[in-house]
Amino acid sequence: MSEAILRTKGLTKRFGGLVAVSDVSLDLHVGEIHVVIGPNGAGKTTLTNLLSGDLPPTSGEVMFQGRDIAGCSSDHISRLGIGRSYQKTNIFLPFTVFENCRLAAQSRTPNAFRVFHQAGRYPEINRRAEEAMTAAGLDKRAGRIAATLSHGEQRQLEIAMCLATQPRVLLLDEPLAGMGPHESQSMVELIKRLTADHAIMLIEHDMDAVFALAHRLTVMVNGEVLESGTPDAVRSSPAVQLAYLGGEEILHE
Amino acid sequence: MDFAFFLIQLLNGLQYGLLLFLVASGLTLVFGIMGIINLAHGSFYMVGAYLAWSLSSLTGSLTAAILLAIPLTVILGMALERLLFRHLYQRDHLYQVLLTYGLILVFEELRSLIWGDDVHGVAVPALLNASIPLTDNLSYPIYRLAISGVCLLLAAGLYFLIQKTRLGMMIRAGASNRDMVQSLGIDIKLIYTLVFALGIALAAFAGMINAPLSSVFPNMGSQVLIICFVVVVIGGIGSVKGAMAASLMIGLAETFGQVLVPEVAGMIVYVLMAIVLVWRPQGLFGRA
């Protein structure tokens, strides 16, 4: 097993008196999918926000390739190579699918402050955008306005934008949310294809997908890590089965 | 500067600050609870002042004028909310800015048509038209102390209303979750109308009681509005506590500034704002 590319230690987030995330330690490795599950309000999205820089932690470390990035801004973290998709679709609704991806790809261009060269004329950026669209299965939708896409297609665009920034680490927050079975299947296959070159943290409720994808599984309840390890170990943990009322039914494949 | 002089400036500064608080609290309430920026807020200050002047000329008494003018401005506020502002709740702030800017122009012209463009003085009520001696040759007008007193009372009343009553609780709830409040069966529309009317009544009342000190003149609304904006930026939007802290700070800074460094006194307020922007952009008591 390779060295962890992203590792957190004792990560905590307090909002006044409320502790949303408490003393969470987990690590992500390239080639591995680490799934985080837990009931609503368990702190999963907050954890993702802490890792992506959308929120600063109250305490704890986030080590990326050996450097502590806790508290860094989200744009800095993105530029380091950590990409994130959102649970609530967070795309550019008035733009076309292609423009959404092109803009995302543009973020990697060092001298995008060039004010006279027209945006469509950067072949490198266009290529990256097309690759991202194709990977997410949206290449036939390139010219459509994002607001007119179906919900599932918007979730695909959400991922495509993330991919267009060519990250090393992917933080995916419920990518399957609201998708039908066919679309979910495509998304699961996409994530599987991405595994080889990326370190992936996945938050999901869809248990079929969870067990199809997880190399490691972490269960969060009330902001804390209840159990963490291989899917089998977690599934047979009595604590986990207790926490999920009628536990065995839910955790069976 | 000797002590008596210092005391006078201190009292003046506090009085000015408290008056500013009255106006600014209305602005910050309306914004914090309803999410509306009302550029015409200063116009209601002006309306209050002009009403006070014209009614006191008619009745011969400022007190009577104020008692008559308050219900008038409340009705005006409720009417405007129902007819105009109600359409703006879900809109971008830009359109609120534009609409209320247009309203300012309308108010200014109406004022010009109804009351003319001259400057007018307003007499202090006879009862309060005296001074307290401070030293052998310096005394302080009771009317100013009365203003400060009234402002403090209203501030306390506001605090009590918002923190300790059911209505206040509903107001605070409406601020954070309009839909939830509505689904609980509470008439959010009524609350908004009340809050709006309260906000501008405060501004108008401030104009009324300050009229003897400032006189009534065109543009008095714009002047007070800009200062109120600075108060709200420094104090933090939606925070009544912040409005109080910022108002007092500005009141004192401006008053002492005018005696100590008159050439740049007008700038002090903006320098303070710039400092707060650098150090704490959400305002002293604003939410990050």
């Binding site: 959308d54 801004s73 744009d75 993105s78 530029r79 994130r84 967070n90 550019f92 008035p94 733009f95 076309t96 292609f98 423009e99 092109r102 803009l103 543009q106 995008a112 402050f113 060039r114 004010v115 027209q118 945006a119 469509g120 950067y122 010219g143 459509r144 306005i145 934008m161 | 920026i37 105009l84 702030h93 830009l94 359109y95 800015v97 534009l98 609409l99 800017y101 247009g102 309203l103 300012i104 122009l105 309308v106 200014e108 012209e109 109406l110 800009i226 904006f229 600075v230 709200v232 930026v233 939007i237 050439e263 007008g266 700038m267 903006y270 704002m273 922007l277 650098v278 952009p281 959400q282």
Partner: protein, 328 residues
């Protein structure tokens, strides 16, 4: 309408405008000059409001600052050279915009509106209360700037139509400049920031830097307009920095249609012509004095019922069907 025709129209418009001085009317030429200057002012604000999503209510600060810069640079009864005074005035505005931008861009939304207003008021007080700019009396600019090559005057700006052509050329240049900039990666990023600032940041864009650049450019271009306005009018006073000026230009942008350069030009035309019309005594007699009443009502109606502006109205009339819109 076909995009070929659409691209041809601006050139046609410029051509027609260039021929306008053949109509021998001093009044209308001066009016048109004023309109074009306001068009530059409106386009500069549209960059901020329509393309970057930053609503500034203090844009008159840069307009006025450039005017005062010219007034202070011009020696009392002599002429000043256009070649260095225009860039100098614009440079001052750009610098001031850079400095205030770093402060005001720490805020957003409603705070931003209030803070930009407050800063322009600060500038107003500086010029109104101190002797720097002649106080509330203002400063006269006795001679128009000169365009000289060595000792030879190329083009006398004292002649009405020459000044008009200069303004027309500058308006066209500003339009072209903004058109290029907005089509570049920088411009697309600004639009992205306007639509979804949060996601732009999450994608790795240093949003603050983009906003500051936009703010500075907008201030500089407003300076071009302010310089020309002062040169045309021959007089500056604190009113050019007032928030009424800021409100007027914001109104022009909305009236024309945010996020559309030609919309800002249309908006400037419509607003200035409306203002001239409403305050014309020949039409409205004694009511002309109270033109702001009608203007205020007009502004309110636009805010309530025509949020997309005139350009939006035009677009609706020539709308393409469905969602298939290919990008350029």
């Amino acid at each position: 309408m076909s995009s070929r025709l659409a691209r041809f129209l601006p050139w046609l418009a410029v051509g027609l405008l260039a021929l306008f001085p053949l109509v021998e009317s001093t009044f209308y030429m001066q009016l048109l000059t004023k309109v074009l200057i306001m068009a530059i002012f409106a386009m500069s604000l549209d960059l901020l409001v329509g393309y970057t999503g930053l609503v500034s209510f203090g844009h008159a600060a840069y307009f006025g600052l450039a005017g005062y810069a010219l007034a202070l640079m011009a020696p009392k009864y002599e002429t000043v050279s256009l070649w260095w005074s225009l860039p100098a005035a614009v440079g001052v505005c750009a610098l001031f915009a850079l400095i205030t931008g770093t402060l005001v861009l720490r805020t957003r939304g409603i705070y931003f509106i209030m803070v930009t207003l407050a800063f322009s008021q600060m500038l107003f007080f500086i010029f109104h209360d101190t002797k720097i700019g002649g106080g509330s009396d203002g400063i006269y600019i006795y001679a128009k700037p000169v365009m000289k090559m060595g000792d030879v005057e190329l083009f006398s700006l004292e002649k009405l139509q020459n000044f008009y052509w200069l303004v027309l050329v500058l308006t066209a240049l500003v339009y072209l400049l903004l058109h290029r900039v907005l089509g570049s990666t920088f411009g697309r990023a600004l639009l992205g920031i306007k639509v979804n600032e949060h996601r732009m940041r999450a994608l790795g864009f240093p949003v603050f830097r983009y906003q500051l650049a936009s703010f500075t450019l907008a201030g500089a271009l407003a300076g071009v307009a302010g310089y020309l306005a002062a040169a045309q009018y021959g007089f500056v006073n604190p009113e050019i920095l007032s928030w009424h000026q800021s409100g007027a230009v914001l109104m022009m942008v909305i009236l024309g249609g945010m996020g559309s350069l030609y919309g800002s030009v249309i908006g400037a035309f419509a607003f200035v012509l409306l203002q001239e019309g409403l305050s014309d005594q020949a039409w409205f007699g004694s009511w002309a004095k109270h033109w702001q009443l009608a203007m205020g009502i007009f502004i309110m109606l636009i805010a309530l019922y025509l949020p997309q502006g005139l350009a939006g109205l035009l677009q609706k009339l020539g709308r393409k069907p469905a969602a298939e819109v290919a990008d350029e």
